[in-house]
Every structure is written in C-alpha cells, then in structure tokens.
C-alpha cells in the first residue's frame, strides 16, 4: 500500500504530469461552467488531442476534466439557475435562491468545500477498499437496480415545492417523455414520428438547458423586476454558522454519493437527487430546503463529487464503466493500447496509482482555484441583466449545438425553453420533470430486465434481500413523516436512520 502510494506520487508529481493535471482541472471547470458542454462531451472532444501523450499523462488530464467539471457545473447553477452539468440540476433549487438573497459567495464556497471533502473521502475509500466495493457492486443486478430507481422516484416528493400533486404530475410528465425512443428489449421505435433524432430518446441535457436557462430568462423578462445584486465583497464570504450547518449534509452526501457511484451505470446525477431527497427528510432545517438553505447545496454537491470518484471503482477494478464519462475514459484506455480489466491494478500499477494520486492533487488545485474565486464569480451578478441575459441565451444555444453538432438539439432547447417559461408562470416545479426524465429510461430498463429474469414474475424481488432493504428505505423516504406521525412519540432520531446507509 505504502509502496503503491510512493509509486503514485513519483508518477503524479513529475512537472509534466502536474502541468497537465492543472490543465485538465482548469479545462474541466470551464467545461462544467458551459451549459451543454458536459464532462462526457468535454472528455470525448479533447481525447483525440492527447493521442501523442504518455498514457498516464493523458489519463491524468482527461480525469481532471471529469472531476473539474463537477466543480464548474455548480457555478452557473447557483448564479444563473443554469445547470452546467446534469449533476448540478438539484443545486439550482437552493443555490439560486441563495444567490437571489446575496449569498451566492457562500453557496459557491460550500459547494467547493463539500466537493473537496467528498472527493478526499471517496478517494481514500477508492484506494483502500476498491476491490471489496467492486465485488459488492456486482451484487447489484437488475432487481437491485429496480429498487434503487424506485428509491430515486420516492424522492420526488422532496422536489415538489408547495404542492405535492403538481410535483407528481411533473414527474409523470418526465416519465412519459422518457418513453420516447427505441425500446431496448424489442428495438421498437416509440413516439419518434420517424425522426431519427428521437430514436435515442428526448435528449436530457437539451431539455435541462431549455427549462432552466432559457425558461428562466424568458420569465425574468416578463416579471422585469430583477435588479442586479448589490452586496459588499465581505458579505459574499461564507459564515461560521453556515459552515457548521453544512457538516452533516456533506457527510451524508459523501457516503450516499460513494455508495451509489460504485454501482455500474448509475451516475452522479441520480446520487445528487437522492442525497437532496434524504436531506429534505433528515435535515434539522428541512423546512427551509427549497428556499435557499445551505444544506440544499452542500449535500448534492458532495454527493455528485463522491459519486464521480466512486465511478472509478468498477472502472479500474473490473474494467466496467461506472457512468457515461468513465465509459469514454475506458475507450481512451484502449486507444492508448491499454486493456482495462480486472488485471489493471497488477499489470499497470504505475498508471493506476499515478492516476489515483493525481486525483488528490487535482482536487487540492480545484479547492485552491475555487475558494478564492467564489466571491469573485459571485460578482458576476452585478452585471445588469440586460447584458447578462443575451449572454445566457447565446451560450445556451451554442452549447446545445455543440453537444452533437446537430440543429435538432437547438430546437429541443427552444421548445423546452418555452415549456419552462409556462411552467414557471403556472408554478409547476421543474426538478421532478428532470428527475422523471433521468430515471425513466433506467427504471424501464431495470423493470424489463427484472421481468425477463423472473420469466414475467416481478415477485422475484422478494428473493433479493438487498433489493428489499432498498425498497424499505424508499417507503421510509416517501412516507416517512406520515409514518412517524402515527407513532406515539415523534423522535427525531428515528428519522435520521436512512442517513446512516
């Protein structure tokens, strides 16, 4: 272990690798900042440029883009309610409200701190316990995944704002939208109207940009009230009490994010949603969540970073990607002539440990980069909206086009933007729609597979203990408060239990 660490530091600390690690995390921050340009696209686009590098240097840079984007994605979510990354959608809920109250600096700082703590926590687990976690993750087959998706759906009530029925309606709309596209089991095209662009489904990132960025701009133009935020620089700094309130959420977010990130296929987006849902249940300030509580930023931001790192558990130990971006990274391994697989730790110790140590270094760089920058970024809100809005619209549409070099994406953003405007106007919550759209395809896949495994009988769930435990948690999350109310005495400790998973 110590030998491996020394080897890792020797590899990661060469001037060349340090430089490219920095380039990677910086590029990642910028990529995360831009709507549409997510880490998956960013890594894919920059991959060909690294073909002449040493494999370890190239991977250090590409991985830097990946976790750097997790930091960058937060900035626009908080400041402009425009998530730069799918995993930062949840952050808009409280982060943007904080920004409207002049606490943008605090929100950005806690996101950076939470991300950093989560990253270091998950890296230590990744180095020490990757193989056992990978084996545990393999126990999660279709049946267990189905129960996790149900757990994800159970968090919907947490995102519904005032009216639960509106939240459920929006989540259903999201699930319905998710049925568009080619069915994996039979290959049948559903609701595509013979448009090949819809065969892979309603594109999630474009819908997100449209709803949040374009919809918000249109709505603000209508209400016309927003004045640039005027705060003194010192007021943008995070306070001691805000830090104290964030300790619990960061801890819970890190653990949840790591566990969910280990499972192949479920990415950091789901982790951020579930972490927020849990926080909404167990936090001492849960009633404030949704109105600009710092817990609502700390928890999902820690969770998505922990999940991003945990994605490397199956990637490095089994050669199976944990999510979209790690899938592209695995492709990169093959291009550099490395075979990712269960033997990678033995056959390429220098590469693996160099890469892992570079995560430490990269995250320190990101913290140093982001903490002082948080109040400076927050100053962006002093720009009068007359200048800010055209910039948001411009980056939204250009960002959409850049996803697949396809005008179709731009049209989706436009349509989703108009829809988002009316949703705001009629006070329909957007987060449940996004959650439905994210979980829909995963849920359906797990359901089809479970049904196929059970030869049509869904009751095979009963013979999978892990799935049953997760389902029980889902019930607790959805109906927790109602159940607690039925008990003779309302003990807050009882409610805290789900956080311990």
């Amino acid at each position: 272990m110590i030998d491996n660490l020394i080897l890792g530091f020797q590899t990661a600390l060469t001037p060349q690798n340090l430089l490219w690690c920095f380039v990677g995390v910086l590029a990642g921050t910028v990529i995360g900042l831009l709507p549409g340009l997510g880490s998956t696209t960013g890594v894919a686009v920059l991959l060909p440029l690294t073909l002449d590098f040493e494999p370890v240097t190239a991977l250090i840079m590409l991985a830097g883009i990946y976790y750097g984007a997790q930091y960058g994605g937060t900035i626009t979510s908080v400041l402009l309610s425009t998530p730069g990354e799918a995993s930062s959608v949840v952050t808009t809920l409280d982060g943007y409200q904080m920004a409207r109250r002049g606490r943008a600096g605090a929100a950005l700082s806690i996101a950076a701190i939470g991300s950093f703590v989560a990253a270091i926590f998950s890296l230590i687990l990744l180095m020490v316990l990757a193989p056992p976690f990978a084996n545990f993750a393999l126990k999660f087959g279709p049946v267990e995944n189905l129960s996790i998706m149900i757990l994800g759906l159970a968090t919907i009530v947490s995102f519904s704002g005032e009216s639960r029925i509106r939240g459920l309606a929006m989540a259903s709309a999201g699930l319905l939208l998710a049925t568009v596209g080619m069915d994996a089991a039979t290959g049948t095209a559903r609701f595509t109207f013979d448009n090949v662009n819809l065969l892979s489904g309603v594109p999630f990132v474009e819908v997100m940009i449209g709803l949040f960025a374009v919809g918000e701009v249109m709505y603000q133009i209508r209400v016309g009230a927003a004045a640039p935020i005027r705060t003194r620089f010192r007021e943008l700094l995070i306070t001691r009490s805000e830090l104290r309130r964030s300790i619990g959420p960061i801890g819970r977010g890190s653990v949840l994010g790591f566990l969910l990130g280990c499972l192949p296929g479920s990415g950091s987006t789901l982790a951020s949603f579930i972490a927020y849902g849990v926080e909404k249940r167990v936090s001492r300030n849960r009633s404030q969540l949704g109105q600009g509580a710092i817990e609502g930023v700390a928890s999902p931001e820690s969770a998505n970073n922990a999940a991003a790192n945990a994605n490397f558990v199956p990637t490095l130990t089994l050669g199976i990607p944990g999510g979209g971006t790690t899938a592209v990274l695995l492709g990169a391994f093959t291009i550099y002539g490395l075979q990712p697989g269960p033997l990678l730790f033995q056959s390429q110790p220098k590469l693996v440990w160099g890469l892992l140590v570079s995560f430490f270094i990269g995250n320190v760089m990101l913290l140093v980069l982001n903490l002082p920058m948080a109040p400076i970024f927050a100053q962006m809100l002093r720009i009068p909206y007359a200048y800010l809005y055209p910039i948001i619209l411009f980056t939204s549409f250009v960002g959409a086009y850049s996803i697949d070099n396809n005008m179709f994406s731009v049209w989706i953003v436009f349509v989703a933007g108009v829809a988002g405007y009316f949703m705001k106007l009629y006070d329909l919550p957007m987060a449940p729609l996004v959650l439905g759209l994210v979980i829909g395809p995963l849920f359906e896949k797990a359901l089809t597979q479970t049904s196929a495994l059970g030869d049509g009988d869904l009751l095979i769930v009963l013979s999978h203990p892990i799935a049953l435990v997760v389902l029980a948690l889902a019930v607790l999350l959805a109906a927790g408060p109602s159940l607690v109310r039925l008990l003779p005495r309302n003990t807050p400790d009882r409610e805290r239990e789900p956080a311990g998973v």
Binding site: A185, G331, I335, Q339, P342, Q449
Partner: protein
C-alpha cells in the same frame, strides 16, 4: 448523361453527380470519370455514427490515420455524430450522397438498423469500399458455471431454463443466439442489456448464465480467470495466442458462425473515379502496419474485402440477418 470530359474538375463532377443522384431513386448510380484524375479536394470528413471512445470511433480514427499515411497529402477529420444507435450519423451521411469527400466507418448497424426501424437508408444507398475484418463473438460464462462447451449450454436449455443476456434486440449477440436456436432447437430466455460492459457486469455478478461477446470485450476477464469461454461463433479458430485454444462452435456440433464486420463506406452516387480512388487507398491501408495494429488490438479476424466483393458480402449478410431477425 455522358461525361467523358477529362477536364472536369472533381468538384464539378461531384456537384453534377449530386444532382443525378437526387434525380434517380437508386443512390448507387455510378457515372464516368477517371480514377487517375480523382483526388479529394480539401479535407475529407470521417463521419463516426457513434460517440467518441467506442468501437466505431476507434475504427474510424484508425482507418483515417491509416489512409492519411497511405496517401500522401490526404487530410481526414473525424467527426462524431452520435444518436439513435447510429441512425443519426448514417442519416447525416445519406445527406452527403454524391460527395466523395465523406467516409464512414461502418459495421453491422448498417444492416440491422434499416431491417428493424424505419430509417431513410439501407446499405444499397451507400458505396461499399472495404471490409477490414470480422469481429466474431465468444460464448462466455462465469467461471463457476458447470458448462464446458457450447453444446452443454444448448443441452441445458433443452432440459430447463437458460438465462442469456443480450445487448439489445438488433444486436449481434442476439442474432447469434437466434441462429443457435434455429440450428439446434435450443431455447434461450433473453434479458436485454444496453452494452457489452453491462453484460460483463451481469455475468460477473452471476445475474445471467451466458452471454456472447466480442473477444476484445472479454479477453481481460478471460486472462484474469473471471469468465470462461465456451466456444467461438466463428468459421475458424482465432490465431491470437490468448484465444487459439477456444474451439469453434462448429467443432462442438453447433453449426453457427456470425461476425460483426468492420469496414468503410462512401456516400452513394459518387463517381467511379472516386470509388476506385478510395478502394486503392484502402488496399494500401490494409497492408500497412497501422491496419495490422488496429486488427490485432481489437482481436479481429483479418478478412479484407474490397468494392464489389464487399457489396456481395453485404447482400449475403443482409439476407442472413433478415432471416435471423424474422423480417
């Protein structure tokens, strides 16, 4: 239309041909032009119909680099147009009919997609240039499985329920299972997954009993002793040292061989000159070290075919596939 004027520039030829191609129902229309005079003007675009980092991307970039090395002065940019299991990229490519400055690294989706879904193209709308090699599949099971051969799996499926994982309805591995059922009377219960990686995870976690995956996808798991190969659904055994001990299905009495091809196509309706140019360049590519390296690192069987031979292969493969998919 007669066009034997050798002074026609490539661009003019391309634009006129674009018009002819639009005017005829069949995009295959080939017209005059001299191989010696054709040279791609400006940069050529390699349209990859899948995302960066995948098998198609790898093949596109390798062929592009190899062609650049084989033809001095040639410059190829690679562009990913992902979406709809390849349908978006192929449809975009269809819109380039008549333009010899576009190429696409093709594979079995070219045949499977039109058979299964309503898309605006099928393989006859394009100009087949080269098949680089074949990617067969291996039947693999977790190491703990009692089966030693593919015949064991077939027999087990006759006696009871066998759960096989497949990566989608039109996927190559699903076709292989269907062909096995048709050849032996076996019956496999399919659980659909979305990719080879998901299938690997399901096999390693004992969620499914058997899957059929490309050698490149499983070779590391085989080396690590996590999975065992039962047989190769190939005409002949692999020559790679790590795969040469795997018997073919036929040796075990299961007469099934089906490969995913890896190749290169140009848009339909390009001139004979352009077609000959790309075929000649491809022949140089296949003999180069770059091609050998690509084939070896992806564990392909190097069965190269060019032009008409590749077209004949596509015709045959398409018949087989449409039978297997029940279309």
């Amino acid at each position: 239309m007669k066009r034997n004027n050798v002074l026609l520039t490539a661009v003019a030829a391309a634009s006129v041909l674009l018009l002819t191609a639009c005017g005829t129902a069949n995009g295959q229309t080939s017209a005059g032009g001299d191989a010696a005079t054709f040279k791609p003007k400006g940069n050529v675009t390699m349209v990859v119909p899948f995302g960066a980092g995948g098998g198609s991307d790898n093949s596109g970039r390798s062929i592009a680099a190899g062609l650049e090395a084989a033809v001095p002065g040639l410059k190829i940019n690679t562009e990913n147009r992902d979406g709809g299991s390849g349908a978006v990229g192929y449809s975009y490519f269809l819109s380039k009919t008549g333009d010899p400055n576009y190429l696409l690294p093709s594979e079995t989706a070219l045949l499977a997609l039109p058979l299964n879904t309503k898309v605006g193209f099928d393989y006859t709308k394009f100009t087949p240039i080269m098949k680089v090699g074949d990617d067969f599949t291996l039947a693999v099971v977790p190491t703990g499985s009692p089966w030693k051969t593919c015949a064991d799996a077939v027999n087990a499926s006759k006696a009871g329920r066998v759960v096989a994982g497949v990566s989608g309805a039109t996927s190559l591995d699903n076709v292989v299972f269907t062909l096995t059922e048709q050849a032996t009377g076996a019956k496999f219960d399919r659980v659909p997954f979305e990719s080879g990686e998901e299938l690997l995870a399901a096999l390693l976690g004992n969620q499914i009993q058997v899957a059929s995956l490309n050698p490149g996808e499983v070779v590391e798991q085989l080396k690590a002793g996590k999975l065992r190969a039962l047989c190769a659904f190939a005409e002949k055994r692999y020559e790679y040292p790590e795969l040469k001990d795997i018997p073919t299905a036929k040796e075990q009495g299961v007469d099934v061989a089906y490969a995913q091809f890896r190749g290169l196509i140009a848009p339909g309706g390009i001139s004979d000159g352009a077609r000959t140019f790309w075929i000649d360049a491809s022949k140089k590519f296949v003999e180069s070290d770059k091609a050998q390296q690509y084939i070896a690192s992806n564990y392909l069987q190097p069965n190269a075919l060019f032009g008409d031979d590749f077209t004949a292969y596509l015709n045959e493969n398409n018949d087989m596939l449409s039978k297997a998919l029940g279309k």
